[in-house]
């Protein structure tokens, strides 16, 4: 590792909910224009980790550093102001509200009088629909309620919202879950666009193939610990799978090479 300042650094992060320990001394770094994949089983602590980065949960201990500056008392609003955008597994949409209200959720544009600039938000949404979402269906307008849209369209809205506000770090939590093959392709293309645009990304997915395809580096998480890190360029997909299996069986990455058969 060269000593450049990383975009984001987490050190020795621990978090527990009552008696349940979700993370124990987890460290994670994301470099400039780097796509990092988080892999791990259900309950490994991936979602908790990202909710700490987004300010939704406060860690019990450990430090968070953004561009070399230590962050304390991080809130959701503060994280967004810094340029951390998240596409949550739950999508974080308000189903009965219009598309434009969802795009600008929590960040509504206002006029100088402090009133909502509804016209501006509708126009921006319309632009986003044409240029980014590539919605061709004439049934969708900025006024369309999100509840009436397909799973892929909803995912697109959540991603478009994250990209629209010029984020520097975009976190995608299980973005391909429940999507069709074509929609999954499109989502992976979004990740490549993030890379091409010079931004950074944390990509979480159950599907190891998806992860291996788009990320620069893979971080394996198991039962609240980081158990391994690999650069995608230096590990084949089969190797990665073997190591994952070893981790799942033993809870440790050590001697994982023995399991590799290729």
């Amino acid at each position: 590792m060269v000593t450049v300042t990383n975009l984001l650094e987490l050190e020795e992060i621990s978090k527990s909910f009552g008696e349940v320990s979700a993370l124990e001394g987890v460290s994670l770094a994301v470099g400039d224009n780097e796509i990092v994949g988080l892999l791990g089983d259900n309950g490994a602590g991936k979602s908790t980790l990202i909710k700490i980065i987004t300010g939704f949960h406060a860690p019990n201990s450990g430090t968070i550093t953004w561009k070399g500056q230590r962050l304390t008392h991080l809130t959701v609003q503060h994280a967004r102001d810094l340029g951390i955008e998240t596409v949550y597994q739950e999508r974080a949409l308000a189903d009965q509200q219009s598309l434009w209200r969802n795009i600008f959720m929590g960040r509504e544009r206002t006029t100088r009088l402090g009133l909502l600039d509804v016209g501006e938000m509708r126009t921006e949404t319309e632009k986003l629909m044409v240029e980014f979402l590539r919605f061709t269906s004439q049934a969708v307008t900025p006024e369309t309620e999100v509840a009436t849209m397909s799973g892929g369209e909803r995912q697109g809205v959540a991603i478009a919202r994250a990209l629209h506000f010029e984020a520097e770090l975009i976190i995608l939590d299980e973005p391909t879950m429940g999507l069709s093959v074509t929609e999954t392709r499109k989502t992976l293309d979004f990740v490549r666009e993030i890379k091409a645009a010079g931004k950074s990304c944390i990509f979480i997915d159950h599907n190891i193939f998806n992860v291996h395809e788009v990320v620069d580096r893979v971080v394996l998480v198991d039962r609240g610990h980081v158990v391994g890190e690999f650069k995608t360029a230096e590990i084949t997909l089969l190797d990665l799978i073997a190591r994952m299996q070893h981790v799942a069986e033993t809870g440790s990455i050590e001697n994982a090479e023995k399991g590799v058969t290729t």
């Binding site: 809130t75 189903d95 959720m105 016209g119 629909m129 004439q138």
Partner: protein, 336 residues
């Protein structure tokens, strides 16, 4: 939603094809269906009354009287609409009316009394919000508790004895008759309705009220300070209830410690008849205002039709159930 003064087709650039007529109709139905239902309901009831008791309902005096009773529930219903959109409920406003009236009367000076009463209403509303949001007590239960508590406090404080009401500038400002006909309180109510419309549809706070009621978790994840929003809507109900209590007391020309005791059912019926969703995330000020007139016409309507007053409760109850059935019908119809 009320903010659709622009037809969906207008903002589309030529890149995308225009919507089909059916698609536009569906969007129109979804946005205006409930409001249309509220207006139709109002017209049906008016026709029934005008045919059944023309000597009352085709005479202008009836409307002056109606305009003086509508604000007593309507002013509260405006704020209660926000509470219900935010997926909460407040049942304590009747008692807050009594608190407001008592503070107004007890200060002895109308101008000071008005300010003190509004402050008291705001404080009691804030307390409701804090109990619900910070202490995590479900609003239905919490506000049943505070309803009894504040009604009891007023009875203890006044020893259940009423007193006369002041006259002068402030009372005239609140309930004077403009041109000897239009009650000032209805003008206040319409003005407040305009303010509430603006707040709900054109401020970030209003947008957040919808988001909190629709999906509180999502709103929180996207940086909305949902706790503040929820506390604020309860505070607004307290403020409006205190004002409505003073209006009711001045209209009665006497302060009864039990003022507001009968406000619960008609005010809640107003909000639901106005199309505000019991499931949160939907509702309009327009619907609430129209429904306030409809609901206030029910009681005098029953009397004018020579029916026994016992029918009032039957009809309030039926209206609430009907309004909720209408809501679920429109929801299902427009989702197809």
């Amino acid at each position: 939603m009320t903010d659709v003064e622009q037809a969906p087709g207008e903002v589309l650039p030529p890149v995308r094809p225009q919507m089909s007529r059916r698609g536009r109709e569906r969007i129109f139905f979804r946005h205006y269906g409930l409001q249309a239902g509220t207006v139709v309901m109002a017209l049906i009831i008016w026709v029934i009354l005008a045919v059944g008791a023309p000597e009352t309902w085709l005479h202008k005096d009836m409307y002056s009287a109606l305009m003086s009773t509508v604000p007593q529930t309507g002013i509260i219903a405006l704020a209660l609409t926000l509470v219900v959109i935010a997926r909460e409920i407040d049942l304590s406003f009747g008692s807050v009316m009594a608190v407001g009236s008592w503070v107004f009367i007890a200060t002895g000076r109308p101008a000071l009394g008005l300010i003190a009463a509004l402050a008291a209403g705001l404080a009691v509303g804030l307390l409701n919000g804090v109990i619900v949001v910070r202490l995590g007590v479900p609003s239905l239960v919490a506000t049943i508790g505070t309803m009894f508590f504040w009604a009891g406090i007023v009875l203890v404080g006044t020893n259940a004895a009423g007193s006369g009401t002041p006259v002068g500038f402030v009372p005239t400002l609140l309930i004077g008759r403009i041109g000897g006909y239009v009650p000032a309180e209805v003008v206040w109510m319409i003005g407040l309705a305009a303010v509430f419309w603006l707040v709900l549809n054109r401020t970030r706070f209003g947008a957040h009220v919808y988001l909190v009621g629709d999906n509180e978790q999502s709103a929180r994840m996207m940086g909305v300070r949902t706790d503040r929003v929820r506390i604020a809507v309860f505070a607004l109900v307290g403020l409006m209830a205190a004002l409505a209590g003073i209006v009711a007391t001045l209209e009665a020309n006497f302060f009864w410690p039990t003022v507001g005791g009968g406000a619960l059912l008609p005010t809640i019926a107003t909000v639901f008849l106005g199309g505000t969703s019991i499931f949160g995330g939907r509702g309009t000020i327009f619907g609430t205002v129209v429904a306030a007139f409809t609901i206030s016409a029910i009681e005098p309507g029953i009397v004018s039709l020579n029916l026994t007053g016992y029918y009032t409760q039957v009809i309030y109850g039926a209206v609430i159930v009907l309004a909720l059935v209408m809501q679920s019908f429109v929801m299902r119809r427009s989702q197809r």
